[in-house]
Symmetry: C2
DNA sequence: AGTCTATTCGCAACTTAGTTGCAAATAAAA
DNA sequence: TTTTATTTGCAACTAAGTTGCGAATAGACT
């Protein structure tokens, strides 16, 4: 973990008005250095010996989500995958692509998805999530 | 359950090359008469005394999904919601809207969502799911 | 109609992501 | 340094979905 990321984690906690605790700094750094959304288990694995307790990771993720610093990106195999919210706008997150062959999920930051109107027949739309399935470049062969 | 729906259920089973058993007919009829995606538990509840065993409902839904007659519409609260596939195209399902106030989910059959291209930077896209969150007409007040 | 067999069903036991209650530890304010 | 509200870790729990296996049955064949 780079010093820059450690600093970023501290700043995010301050932004969120959350106490600067060891578990929170570790979880945030783990999220920041990942290049795709990760699960509680992946975070724990990545942190190894230093990892906080499972319950603490979940509670930290929940607090960060409530503060808007982290998003629940998608639910896959009944498991939530989390990512920093810094690349998403308020209403529209980038699409996520899951390969049905290798299981790998990718953030399609460069794909243009037209945002739906914020209202539709009386519905007020706060958030839009796009989930794509198919074959990744590797598995398309 | 109308006789028409009973007939529709029989036809769908035939289409899917699945044996016409009591549990399968019941599950299919329950799906057909629902106006939104439903869970295993909702199906069991709706069928009441006549409901097949929980495991049988899951296995039936799985078989119907494999046959393409039913779709897993979305995962909510770690629970799959199923619906007949008859209103979806091969690649694009209609968007689903969940109200964050009352929890109700609606199929937005009339919303135009531009289908993403079937390829993107080497990714081959087979299926696209759009999930919307916000306030339903009732709760927008 | 009766027989046969591959398929399907029901039950009990299991798996696992996520949650809850509570006592011990600690961040940060005083 | 002291104090206290907040946070953490542990153990036990919850609940959707799965698995193994013996019993039941759809549908083919006589
Ligand atoms: Mn992403
Ligand atoms: Mn639908
Ligand atoms: Zn792949
Ligand atoms: Zn509502």
């Amino acid at each position: 973990m780079s010093p820059a990321q450690e600093q970023a984690a501290r700043t995010l906690l301050e932004t969120a008005s959350l106490r600067r605790t060891r578990p929170r700094l570790l979880v945030l750094q783990s999220l920041l250095q990942a290049s795709y959304p990760v699960t509680q288990e992946q975070i724990a694995e990545q942190l190894g010996d230093k990892s906080p307790n499972k319950v603490t990771i979940y509670r930290t993720l929940e607090a960060l989500c409530t503060a808007g610093v982290v998003h629940k990106a998608f639910l896959q195999d009944r498991t939530w995958h989390f990512e920093p919210a810094h690349n998403c706008s308020e209403h529209q997150c980038h699409p996520h692509f899951t390969c049905i062959a290798c299981g790998q999920t990718t953030c399609l930051m460069d794909m243009q998805v037209p945002a739906v109107k914020s209202t539709h027949n009386g519905y007020t739309i706060h958030r839009q999530r796009m989930q794509l399935e198919g074959l990744c470049p590797n598995c398309s062969c």
